[in-house]
Structure formats: C-alpha cells, structure tokens
C-alpha cells in the first residue's frame, strides 16, 4: 500500500488531535519500511481517549496486520498479528471454549493496542492486566530489527512495551493465553451501596468474585456521596444455563446496535440529563439485584451497543480522567476526588470504580493495588480545570493516571506521580526509541 493522506486525527474523546500523515501496512516488511522512513506512532482502532495514538508526524494504522497465526485449541494459546481486533478474537475463540483472560470495556480494540496500554478489566483484582496473559511479543525496533520479548527474554523491553503506549517500537505479533470457559454467559449479581464506604466494603467482602466493578453516582453529595451499584460476575457453567441458553451456549447470537448518526452541536450529556439518568439508573438497579445470566457482549461491552457513542458529547468532544490510588490512601483520596467532582457540578455520565490488584515496578503501566476511578466530562474549560485539580489530588494521595485515557496531564505532573517514568525515559533515549516513536502524548509528557 502506498496511499497516504494527511487528515486531522483525534483520539476516541474527539478532543485535540492534529494533522498527521496516515500510513498503512499489511506485513512486517511494510512496517520495516515505514519505521525506516521517519518518526511515527502505531494506532490500532483509535480507542485511546486522548492523544496516545496520534502523531504530528506519521501515524501507522495497524489494521492491515490482521492475521491469526496459530491457535492451540487444547492449551488456549493464541498467536496473532497486532492489528487483530478483540472482537475477532472473541468471535474466533469463544465458540471453541476460550475467552480472553483480560478484556477492557470495549471489544473494538486491537491486540497491539491492548498490550501497549496494558489494559485491565473487571477481573484485575484476581487476574491482573494484559502483562499477565502475554506469553511473548515481537517488537520492531527503530533499527528495523525484530526482537522477541517476554517475561524471560529481553524482559526490560517487554515490561517497557506492555503499558508503554507504543513508545518502545511497533508490536508486530503476540502470543496470549486465553481462559477456558464452559459458556459465553455471565452470572451477575448487584450489590447496592448507599454511599462510598459501603461500596468499598462491597468490593472487599466480595474479593473472591472473578469480576467486579461499580457504577458510581458522582452527582450526589452529603450522605449519599459516592452511592454505587457494585456489579459482580462470574463465567456461568454449562449446567447453569436454561434450555434456551444451551442452544446458544456461547451467547454468539448478534446483539442489536444503535448508531449515533451525527455529532450534535452541543453535548447531549449535561448535568441535567445526567442527574436525571443517575437517579433513574440507581433506583432501577436497586430493584434488580438478584443473580441473573447475561451474555458476554452486553456484560463486558455495554457501550459497544451504541456505535459512535463518543459523538454524544458534541463537537467539542470529551476528556476522560482515570486514576488509581494505593490502598492506604484510597478511602481518603477517593472521597476527596468525589467531593471535588460533585462540588464542581461537572457531572460525569460514565463513572466507574474498581478494586485493582498489584501492579508492576517495571515499565510505566497503570495498574497498582488500590482503587481506580474513571470519569468522563464534556471538554469544557471548566471540566479541563477540574481534571487538573483531580490530577493534583491524585498525586497528593500517591496515585497515578491511566495514559490510555489521558489528554491533559503535564510532564512535571507525570514525573511527580510516577518514579518509574524517569528511568523509562532514560532507557528510551539510550535505545533510540525516543527519537523514533513519538505521539502527541509522548511529546506533551516529555516521555
């Protein structure tokens, strides 16, 4: 493919961005010639919210690296090119009894993107993040040389790459371990938490639940501050399925999708609509706490049912804030964050709270043992000021920010939050990747 264009490119939040030269590739040798031609950053499905996968120079679309290479159906080990989507991985592997060990909240991501962001899911407190299921990956270096990296081989580069936001090289292919499942159905149960502390208690007392995540109401203040619905889930055994579910054992029948056909001039998600939604949602959720079976698609990927939901925020786009606070400061710190958010009255439509398991001392990946909170706001001046305040609180409480969501952090803020960043930068300078693999985000954060 020789076509290139120079369109304005943004992240999923449709905020910021830049004009970039788009490059395509469909083989490792094409990637090599792209890498030889100048500075670039890889981009999968463009689901990073901010500017992680946008470069002012060249942006390499990996969609053409879309081949499955090997699938060991007995061991549950999959080898695939980096541009293969999670959607295709589930469609291919689940009917044969295998599900991804780690999945983010959308299936419209690529394998390479999942590795670069070291994504986590609702099971992070038990199974960890992407790094825990990648057996190895092949990375193309600035020299055009391909290096196999794993927990035991080129381990430093492996840890820098998993969670390294594409800044160490181009991930060409990877081997991942999958989870054996008896069905595609998830047994879910809801715990109602009338305030924030009750939500934390629900997480701690249900630590054995394979999946857990909370929807949190960030509008309520006072005694109902942080009221939540904590969703617990586990893969349902075949014996738990009804006769009808048995016929669709892996819940593969397609789901109806809504489409947001155009971008409204202003955000449809505003404090008024969100407050109304939250009230309805909380009370509806309170009434439906009994265990029930849900298909994997609506359970793991509820927002995928609304194609182009990112347009609901209007032309200005939106920004995400996701931070994790360590266990010892989580309660105090989260309350401070929630107070600040509720007081700002910049309502967030999607607010998600989750207990995380341990992270890594190597690399710059996001997870750490503690609690993570994710929110998004229409990209107004007020919301941007609020996010800056939240960054400050995160840092004060020893937490850090998820780079796959970030569009606003500054270089000094990042360095102050994360002692792993300075050595990461030094390694990038030393191995030549700093001069070669750059995104708007890496430049903003001086990574």
């Amino acid at each position: 493919m020789t076509r290139s264009a120079k369109p304005h490119l943004q992240g999923w939040g449709r905020f910021g961005g830049t004009r970039t030269t788009l490059l395509r590739c469909s083989s490792a040798s094409e990637v090599r010639s792209r890498v030889a031609a100048g500075k670039l950053i890889a981009r999968g499905r463009g689901r990073a919210y901010g500017d992680s996968a946008v470069s002012a120079e060249q942006t390499l679309l990996t969609a053409g690296l879309s081949k499955f290479i090997a699938f060991d159906v007995h061991a549950g080990e999959l080898v695939a090119e980096a541009g293969v989507s999670l959607e295709d991985i589930v469609a291919t592997c689940l009917p044969r009894g295998w599900f991804p060990r780690v999945t983010p909240g959308t299936k419209h991501v690529t394998l390479g993107g999942m590795i670069a962001a070291d994504v986590h899911g609702k099971n992070h407190h038990i199974d960890g993040s992407m790094v825990n299921c990648v057996n190895w990956l092949d990375l193309m270096l600035p020299t055009g040389e391909t290096l196999r990296c794993s927990h035991s081989e080129n381990a430093t580069l492996f840890h820098d790459t998993v969670g390294g936001m594409g800044l160490t090289g181009i991930i060409l292919r990877a081997s991942v371990s999958l989870r054996s499942v008896e069905s595609g159905w998830i047994r879910t149960r809801t715990v109602v938490a009338p305030h924030f502390r009750a939500a934390l208690d629900a997480f701690e007392s249900n630590a054995a639940a394979p999946y857990s995540v909370a929807w949190i109401d960030c509008v309520r203040r006072g005694s109902a501050l942080g009221r939540s619905l904590v969703y617990l889930g586990e893969h349902a055994p075949q014996s738990a399925l009804t006769a009808e579910q048995q016929r669709d054992r892996f819940a593969m029948s397609p789901r109806r999708c809504l489409v947001v056909p155009f971008t409204p001039p202003v955000s449809l998600l505003n404090p008024l609509s969100i407050t109304a939604f939250n009230t309805l949602y909380f009370h509806r959720g309170k009434q439906a706490t009994a265990p029930r079976l849900t298909g994997w698609d609506p359970y793991f990927y509820p927002l995928d049912a609304v194609r182009g939901w990112n347009r609901l925020y209007g032309r200005r786009g939106f920004v995400q804030f996701q931070a994790v606070l360590p266990l010892d400061t989580a309660e105090r710190g989260m309350e401070a964050l929630l107070h600040t958010i509720a007081a700002a009255r910049s309502a967030s439509f999607l607010a998600v709270l989750k207990r995380m398991g341990p992270g890594r001392s190597e690399g710059i990946s996001f997870p750490m043992a503690g609690y993570t909170l994710a929110l998004d706001f229409p990209a107004t001046a007020k919301a941007i000021a609020l996010v800056t305040q939240l960054h400050c609180l995160t840092q004060q409480h020893g937490g850090r920010v998820y780079l796959a969501k970030d569009a606003l952090l500054s270089a000094p803020e990042l360095e102050a939050m994360d002692p792993r960043v300075a050595p990461f930068k030094a390694r990038r300078l030393a191995n030549g990747s700093a001069a070669h693999f750059q995104s708007l985000q890496s430049e903003r954060l001086s990574l």
């Binding site: 879309s66 081949k67 290479i69 469609a91 291919t92 044969r96």
Partner: protein, 245 residues
C-alpha cells in the same frame, strides 16, 4: 456430512482472499491457488483459525498451459465451487510501449482464466454439478483509451463466461460473471478512486456469495455500476471516440 469446498484461483489477490473468508465463514473448506503459493501460507492459517475449516494451498500459474492439468493432479477432490480471480492490471501506457507486457496482460486476464474455467467446466459437467465464478471487469464492457488492453482481455473473458454459461446450463453447472467496478485493493492502490463508486473487497465477496446462492448470471458489486455501464455503452461511437475516458 463433509463440508462443501471452494477453490480460489488467484488466492493472493485481495478480492480472492475476501471471497475465501466469506465462503469459509459459511462453512466451506477452502483451497487457495496462486503463482507464489508460499505467499498464501499466512492467509491459509488465518482462514483456518478464524473459520475453523480446512484450508490448503496449491501452486498455480494461470498463464502456464499445463496449469489445469497440474491442479487436477494435486487437488484432493474436485471442488464444488471454483472462483477465478486471476488477473493483472499494469498501466495502459506501459502496455502500449511494450508488446510483451500487452501480451502478458491478455494472457493473464483472458487466456489463462478461460483455459482454467474450461477445464473445470468440463469436469463439473461430467459430475453434473458445480458453480464456476469468474471475476471479470466493467472495463470489458467498452474499450476506452485509458485502459483498453486490460479492458479487451476482460471483454474476452466476459464473452467467454457468457458462452460457457450457455453451454453449462443444461448440464447442471452454473456460471456466474462478476463485474466488481472500482475496488480498493493493492492492485488499485496507486489510483485515486471516487469513494462512492469504490467497493471494499469484503463487499465484493458478500455480493459474490449472495449471487452464488441465488444463482445470478452477472453480479455488479455496487448497483450504481449497472447504471453507469448502461450509459457508457449507450453513447454512440462517433461521440464516444471524442471523449476522454
């Protein structure tokens, strides 16, 4: 019950691979054949994994007069469906400057594909069943200054398919002609194509599969092409020769 099978002649082409995916996703076993079969290995693995179906790879140079004979020696069984996506499209001016290249264009787009289809047609007729699908081109519907070497080869292939269909019909074998119009593939990557008139390879494959199940005679990928070519063919020659097309 064993799976139905499809043979893709020209398996390295983007359209051929898209057709392979579509048939494989509908439960077909796949045989991919192309000149450099080593280039097919990765595609074959991908097809087999994604669709949980047997996929094999054969070497086949359509311009070799012995190609069909060799294929029949190597094919484990006669396929139910044979799709020919063989063809090349070098720049018209290059074909004008180099008679050897022009000959190659005629061979790879007409002579080779027709010879292959002929061989499969005879075997299918003897069996009394099967479908032959030939991917030709709208460029064959009228010769234009900008692309007439390729166009005339495709015109020959289209006429050939029409005749074969006529001959095969009473023998229980269906022949389908595919005229894809503009398609965004590696073959056309250097051209600037109008997006409203340009299909993606999976769209072509979807149209081919629907045409196959409905036993269509001629399939255009985007319906607008039927209209465009109706107009282009209706222009009187005295006027047409003055146009820059």
């Amino acid at each position: 019950m064993s799976k139905p099978s499809v043979l893709i002649l020209g398996g390295t082409s983007d359209i051929g691979q898209a057709i392979a995916h579509t048939f494989a996703s509908r439960g077909f076993a796949v045989v991919l054949a192309a000149r450099e079969s080593a280039r097919l290995e990765a595609t074959a693995a991908d097809l087999a994994i994604r669709h949980d179906t047997p996929v094999s790879v054969l070497e086949c140079d359509a311009t070799d007069p012995e190609a069909a004979v060799r294929l029949f020696e190597e094919l484990p069984a006669l396929p139910d469906v044979a799709v020919c996506v063989v063809g090349t499209m070098p720049d018209q001016s290059a074909s004008e400057a180099d008679p050897a290249l022009a000959t190659q264009v005629l061979r790879s787009n007409f002579e080779g594909p027709a010879r292959l289809m002929e061989a499969f047609g005879s075997r299918f007729a003897r069996r009394g069943s099967g479908t032959l699908i030939g991917v030709s081109s709208v460029a064959g519907l009228r010769g234009r200054a900008s692309n007439y070497i390729y166009g005339s080869a495709k015109a020959g292939f289209t006429a050939y398919l029409s005749g074969l269909r006529n001959r095969m019909h009473p023998r229980g074998v269906h022949v389908m002609t595919v005229l894809p119009g503009f398609v965004a593939t590696r073959m056309t990557a250097h051209l600037t194509l109008p997006s409203a008139l340009t299909a993606q390879p999976p769209q072509v494959a979807g149209a081919v599969y629907v045409g196959f199940t409905k036993k269509r005679n001629t399939v255009y990928t985007l319906p607008v092409w039927r209209l465009i070519m109706l107009v282009i063919r209706a222009i009187p020659e005295p006027l047409f020769k003055r146009l820059s097309l």
